[in-house]
């Protein structure tokens, strides 16, 4: 970066951020407002245009019990209540889950490049989904298809495997956990490639899954998905102290009174559970778990007590809007939108604040 004006500008901007930094509650409230507005937009807009009045009337009448005479066609109700609303809520839940899991994995592994999929979750879930496609049986439990169930199981099995193989609970270094995650992930990815080869005509199903999408979100899926994500987020936020203590490494964390082995296992388990729930809801969606936490840290610093709730709220809003952008032109993969929007935004922020922030 050229000397002169740029650092000066950066300092001005950093000072402007300073005001935000001192008002975390205002940031949370603003985030919630943005999230509500995003969900509202996601319900009102779509690739079929509905009269705004009808949409609001349907919502008010069916969701909040406002008295109204039914003047709208039944299709409006289907579109608003069965297609758009569950979809927006699924995007919000997954956005929250991925952002919170991202914060946790980055803090736990002390690696800014970690994302929710870093410890084999992605490969495990993908392999599970691929196997589900290969199994010619139709099973549904609690509204979740075999593909959701096996993806969920695959993600959890992969992380457990990584944790056990690396001796993660017994004071192994996080680097070894990371490398084990990489090795196990590669192995599972080979299994995935094999499954994709065998899948033949069913390949597309696996591929859709890998691209990530909310197009089949339904209330049935949310009944399981939302509680896991929300409870996981709350429990993780309650353990923010441990994540903070681990910022300077395991030894410092121990000296600060943290039972590192136990906390690490709990945090890993919670973050993996949340990730697995997200993956089973929507497949693999990149960038949310990486970018949202960093952007939040850029504004409020690394204190997990602030980073976790803020990432939860802004991650949700971001993914709801990304999904809206993805379906307006007719079902683009949402991961494309998160990357197209997220990457440049992130780069701009990094450049502007290089004086105060580096990865």
């Amino acid at each position: 970066m050229t000397a002169g004006l740029a650092p000066e500008l950066a300092r001005v901007r950093v000072r402007r951020f300073e005001a935000l930094r001192r008002r975390p509650v205002a940031l949370v409230v603003a985030g919630l407002v943005i999230l509500a507005a995003s969900i509202g937009a996601a319900v009102v807009l779509g690739n079929v245009s509905l009269p705004l009045g009808d949409t609001l009337a349907v919502l008010g009448h069916r969701a909040f019990g406002w008295p109204a005479t039914v003047t709208w066609p039944s299709s409006t109700e289907t579109i608003v209540l069965e297609l758009r609303l569950p979809r927006a809520l699924a995007a919000a839940a997954v956005g929250t889950g991925l952002a919170v899991a991202g914060v946790t994995f980055q803090g736990l592994l002390r690696n800014p490049l970690a994302d929710p999929y870093v410890l084999g979750t992605a490969s495990g879930a993908a392999l599970g989904a691929a196997l589900a496609v290969l199994i010619p049986v139709q099973i549904a439990v609690l509204g979740l298809g075999l593909i959701n169930l096996l993806a969920f199981a695959g993600a959890l099995i992969a992380v457990t495997l990584v944790h056990q193989l690396s001796g993660g609970g017994r004071g192994a270094s996080m680097t070894s956990v990371l490398l084990t995650g990489y090795a196990v992930g590669s192995l599972l990815a080979a299994g995935l490639s094999m499954a994709m080869y065998l899948a033949g005509a069913n390949l597309r199903q696996i591929f859709f899954y890998l691209l990530g999408s909310f197009s089949t979100a339904s209330w049935d899926q949310l009944i399981l998905g939302i509680p896991i994500v929300l409870i996981g987020t709350v429990l993780l936020t309650l353990r923010a102290r441990s994540l903070n203590a681990m910022l300077l490494g395991d030894d410092v964390a121990r000296n600060l009174g943290v039972n590192v082995g136990r906390e690490r296992t709990i945090l890993l388990a919670l973050a993996s559970l949340v990730t697995a729930a997200c993956v089973s809801l929507a497949g693999l969606i990149g960038f949310v778990g990486l970018v949202v936490p960093h952007v939040v840290r850029l504004v409020v610093g690394p204190n997990a007590r602030l980073v976790l709730p803020l990432s939860a709220v802004y991650g949700a809003a971001f993914l709801v809007l990304a999904d809206l952008a993805a379906r307006m032109p007719g079902e683009l993969p949402v991961g494309v939108i998160t990357a197209i929007v997220g990457a440049p935004f992130f780069l701009v922020l990094l450049r502007r604040f290089r004086a105060g922030y580096e990865l």
Binding site: Q106, R110, N111, P112, G171, L238, A240, R241, N244, A245, L247, L248, G249, D251, V252, R254, N255, L256, G257, V258, N259, R297, G301, P302, N303, R305, G356, Y357, E358
Partner: protein, 252 residues
């Protein structure tokens, strides 16, 4: 607040076949100020790891104020014993005040976070170490010496009854070395904190500390006032160099 006493009895530690501590026994009274010295590889850091319960396969007994180390919870230990790490890598950009605030973790409310008292303690610690002026700076842009001071401030914010330091002066210039030593003396004398510092600079150790433990090859070879520990013969034997002494006025 009073200092913490420390009792070591027959402490042994081995990494695989390699014995790094052999039968170390010592008793430290509350409020003592002790320098732990010895050549590289003598076992100084290993002994510190035992004291902070980082070494899981230690044998022998360690007690704090008569309480066996194993019976203390980590939380309680953290409120009693503060440790200044030699170095800490930062994965994320962190401000000086944020790092120092980490020292309050054992005291702050687990769910609600730091209180006003915690914030005051952070402020006081930064002022005592002289890093209050750096509070808003990114730690990763500080010099090694400045970072060392920040870590010291963090440990002071922790407000322990025993302060353990691992080579707190390696990256510091002469003025700051003396400044840190004077701060340690102040903490010890004014606040009654027991101080145990690993030091390489025998001159600083001899000048500012009243008692010295000399480790060599995992064994405690001398324990006493610096003048008794640092005899020419012993230095020749342990460090393999010929010392030349310049007489100084002992501190206090």
């Amino acid at each position: 607040m009073s200092g913490l006493g420390l009792q070591l009895r027959s402490v042994c530690l081995a990494y695989g076949d390699r014995e790094v501590l052999r039968d170390v026994s010592a008793s430290i009274q509350p409020g003592e100020r002790i320098a732990l010295v010895g050549p590289n590889g003598a076992g100084k850091s290993s002994l510190l790891r035992c004291l902070t319960r980082h070494a899981s396969n230690r044998r022998g007994s360690i007690a704090l104020d008569g309480l066996p180390l194993e019976e203390l919870s980590r939380e309680r230990l953290a409120r009693w014993v503060a440790v200044v790490p030699g170095e800490a890598a930062l994965p994320f950009s962190m401000r000086v005040e944020e790092v120092v605030a980490l020292g309050r973790i054992p005291h702050e409310h687990p769910l609600l976070g730091p209180s006003d008292a915690d914030r005051t303690a952070v402020q006081v610690a930064m002022e005592r170490v002289g890093v209050a002026g750096l509070r808003g700076r990114d730690c990763r842009q500080l010099s090694l010496g400045e970072r060392q001071l920040v870590l010291l401030a963090m440990a002071i914010a922790q407000n322990g009854r025993l302060l353990i330091l691992d080579e707190p002066t390696v990256h510091l210039d002469l003025r700051h070395q003396v400044g840190v030593m004077e701060l340690l003396v102040d903490l010890n004398v004014r606040d009654g904190v027991t101080i145990l510092a690993v030091l390489h600079d025998l001159g600083l150790a001899a000048h500012f500390f009243e008692r010295m433990l000399l480790l060599d090859a995992g064994q405690l070879v001398a324990d006493g006032p610096p003048a008794e520990v640092l005899t020419p013969d012993r230095i020749r034997e342990v460090y393999g160099v010929d010392p030349r002494f310049v007489p100084t006025i002992p501190a206090r």
